[in-house]
């Protein structure tokens, strides 16, 4: 069979060479390219994406359904305390002393002299004492704390007050109660004693909200809030942005760089900030670039308020 095929192959080859002796190749004429019409183009496939449902574990107290429950809980606990008045201290720590000023050095100059002259003695003798005192403002005084812009403060205060107002809390303003107390003749408004008198007379709880600039924070600042009972000085709640729910080290562990992936775990241990920090990607000439957008002060303050509310509700329910 093989020999037969070989003979046939030789036969075909021979005839082929005879017929193709012109040096050109036999080939097959094919079909033309069909024109491109719109009905040829297939529509993009319909994508069916089924997303997994988000974990409903209460990790983020700022989630809508959790905030509603928290406000209701705070409202109930607040009502059992007969709706106490809450005085808000914005970035103003309660000073240790009543006076914001203290002396660091004092110089006493004492002089004695005799004056004589003129046609009529007697001589005059004199003695005088002059005291120089150098005073400093207390470190905790409001003017020494880092101050943010006014519009930033408005947004922050708005974000903090909103959850409390939603829960029906009675909020009083520090400046207003100071002025009212001062107008009653207690002392000069702004003095330390007026602060205390105003707090004792016109508020039941003092909410102190402090913020400091921090390079470790992903949003550039850290927050601290505490709630004191004005009558007794008892601390009811203490919320720090470092242990606040919803804050923590950034989620990303690796960063893509020109030399490959970079482990960020060690760096992130030092950093704190909102976990759900918004990110988006923007296309550029060198590919996609990640842009981080820190949350607005309103949302940061909102979250701080919810954490304070939770701490207060915990404290009131226990007591």
């Amino acid at each position: 069979m093989t020999a037969y095929h070989k003979s046939w192959g030789t036969f075909l080859l021979t005839w082929g060479l005879v017929l193709g002796s012109g040096g050109t190749a036999p080939a097959q004429q094919g079909g033309a390219v069909p024109p491109l019409t719109q009905d040829i183009i297939a529509p993009p496939p319909v994508r069916k994406v089924e997303m997994m449902s988000r974990d409903s574990t209460p990790k983020n107290p700022a989630a809508p359904q959790q905030t509603e429950a928290l406000i209701a809980r705070f409202h109930a606990a607040y009502a059992t305390r007969k709706r106490p008045r809450l005085a808000l201290y914005w970035n103003r720590a309660l000073a240790e002393t009543l006076d914001e000023w203290y002396g660091t050095e004092r110089m006493v100059v004492t002089g004695q002299g005799t004056r004589s002259g003129g046609p009529h003695p007697p001589m005059q003798r004199g003695q005088d004492t002059t005291v120089f005192e150098h005073q400093r403002r207390l470190p905790g005084a409001p003017s020494s704390r880092p101050q943010a812009g006014e519009t930033w403060a408005w947004e922050f205060e708005d974000g903090f007050q909103k959850p409390f107002l939603d829960a029906g809390a009675v909020l009083v303003d520090r400046v207003a109660i100071n002025r009212l107390t001062g107008a009653e003749g207690a002392s000069t408004p702004g003095g330390g004693d007026v602060d205390i008198k105003a707090l004792r007379q016109m508020a039941d709880y003092m909410v102190e909200i402090l913020y400091v600039g921090s390079g470790r924070s992903t949003i550039g600042y850290e927050l601290h809030a505490r709630v004191l009972e004005t009558r007794t000085g008892q601390i009811l709640a203490n919320v720090n942005s470092r242990n606040m729910a919803g804050w923590g080290p950034p989620r990303e562990r690796y960063e893509v760089g020109p030399e490959g992936f970079r482990d960020l775990e060690e760096e992130n241990e030092e950093r704190v900030g909102p976990v759900e920090e918004r990110q988006h990607y923007k296309a550029g000439p060198h590919g996609f670039k990640r842009h981080k957008k820190p949350p607005k002060p309103y949302h940061v303050a909102n979250r701080l308020a919810y954490n304070v509310m939770k701490a207060l509700a915990d404290a009131w329910e226990i007591r």
């Binding site: 069979m1 093989t2 037969y4 095929h5 070989k6 046939w8 192959g9 075909l12 080859l13 005839w15 082929g16 060479l17 017929l19 193709g20 040096g23 050109t24 190749a25 036999p26 080939a27 097959q28 004429q29 094919g30 079909g31 033309a32 390219v33 069909p34 491109l36 040829i40 183009i41 297939a42």
Partner: protein
């Protein structure tokens, strides 16, 4: 004279008997290279001088041109077809038959042309086809462009 006629008759008889005894069916595919060559039509490319005759004859567009004389009479291109893909690009496929009793390797590449018969995109890379004895294989290529593609030309050579 009679003896001569007997010898001739015997020879014819022996030839007839031997021919009938050796009759086999030829396994397909069977390539009639003479017929294949007769189907070939060459066209003249446009002349360098307007109005003049072109000295160059080549295969027309939308065809497979076997450029290697070593496989000239060994393979047969059964059909060449082009169609549009759902994305609008052109899919080209050609069925190539190995007419010999020996394994063959061929290579092919495609140049796509636009409406003005200018190259629409770079020529494709050579693709290798493996052809066992008397078998066929499919050469397939896709264009990169969509609206710019109006014609094609496939070149085929033996795989080294």
């Amino acid at each position: 004279m009679n003896r001569h006629a007997i010898v001739k008759g015997s020879t014819v008889l022996v030839m007839f008997l031997s021919a009938s005894a050796c009759q086999h069916m030829e396994p397909a595919p069977i390539c009639d290279m003479g017929a294949i060559a007769s189907q070939r039509t060459l066209v003249s490319v446009p002349a360098a001088v307007p109005g003049g005759a072109s000295p160059l004859q080549e295969m027309p567009l939308n065809s497979v041109s076997i450029t290697d004389h070593r496989i000239l009479n060994k393979v047969y291109v059964r059909n060449v077809t082009a169609r549009r893909t759902p994305s609008g690009t052109v899919e080209l496929y050609a069925q190539v038959i190995n007419c010999t009793d020996h394994p063959l390797q061929t290579e092919a590449r495609t140049q796509f042309y636009d409406a003005g018969q200018a190259p629409a995109e770079p020529v494709s890379a050579w693709k290798r086809l493996y052809l066992p004895p008397r078998t066929s294989n499919i050469y397939r290529e896709f264009s990169l462009g969509t609206t710019s593609i109006h014609a094609y030309m496939v070149e085929m050579r033996e795989g080294e």
